[in-house]
Symmetry: C2
Amino acid sequence: MKVKLSQDVLQANEAIAEVNAARLREAGVFAVDMMSSPGSGKTTILERTIDDLSDRLEIAVIVGDVSTTRDAERIEEAGADAVQINTGGACHLDANMIRDVLDDMELAGYDVLFIENIGNLVCPAGYVLGEAERVMVLSTPEGTDKPAKYPAMFRTCSVALLNKIDLSEALGVDDQEFVEEIGMVNPHMKVMSVSALTGEGMEEWYDWLQDGVNSMRK
Amino acid sequence: MKVKLSQDVLQANEAIAEVNAARLREAGVFAVDMMSSPGSGKTTILERTIDDLSDRLEIAVIVGDVSTTRDAERIEEAGADAVQINTGGACHLDANMIRDVLDDMELAGYDVLFIENIGNLVCPAGYVLGEAERVMVLSTPEGTDKPAKYPAMFRTCSVALLNKIDLSEALGVDDQEFVEEIGMVNPHMKVMSVSALTGEGMEEWYDWLQDGVNSMRK
């Protein structure tokens, strides 16, 4: 019974996600679901991205949190439109929450829609939202064993941003070890090593984003 | 309907947890549920604790992971008995998983049973397991906003170990800020600042553990 319900929930979620995806494609918006552990730096990456690309791309962000509006405030201060979803305890966003938000947005005005998911390496992996791409952030202090320990998240995403490489020396870790551990779980994953704090490596991420935006315009 | 099911699941979990708690009390075992984000350092804290207290306390660890047996191997190498639970995708341990493991353990031989939960700041908070105390680990790289953003976890635990304080200088953070943010969410929480890497602050944690063990012997 429990498994049956769970499958029904996932199927309903996927059906709504397909509708969301069609609306976003129609409007020419490149939608990216950003997932990670708590504190890996999703919001800081988005703040810097918004700031650096403000002359090239129109960016909106849907910010998911269990509680507070702190991240949405940070996004707005960085200069992008932000919509906060508070899940009130739920551990992941779902497609229906996103549908409700899309209803109130003028999608055609945006090039990129980031969906900043709840900080959680487990549950969000199972729920598609209508995104074009799934990106996860892994920060160096979390350790190199995370891909093997949370394989579903690393397999469902096409890109990993290895963040906080400015701390690698203090941590005594080699960034290449992360790349190898990720490759053992998902050999197709594109890994970009970045520091949202110093800006190192961010250009490759911006190029990847621009390619995604261009693909929506074809 | 969904809410009803969820309440039934939680009530069933609590009933089993009470049975687990009674068995642990009967055997005189101080059981501690350890929760945190992925990569905050739960296993490293346990490794050091086991090593430092090996002449004083008999320690066993139930290690929960979505996948792999890496943490259980680390615990055994540190010198304690370890039982690995792989949840196969589930985002938290539950009381029934613990009951199954307790069935196979000689509980009377232990002073302390650590239950290392899945790395997840959301879901484990809702599921009691039969523990005497709930302890969470927050690591400095995760940022000071975690208590406000994940309040359920900070309210359900009596103790927070603020870990990786050896990194505070490199991160440019003041440990006192974490203490203040935690106090705003849970004024009753006992916060101990530690570095499992250098050993700084661990004595206070060991004293707290010893007090818990003593309380079971009364």
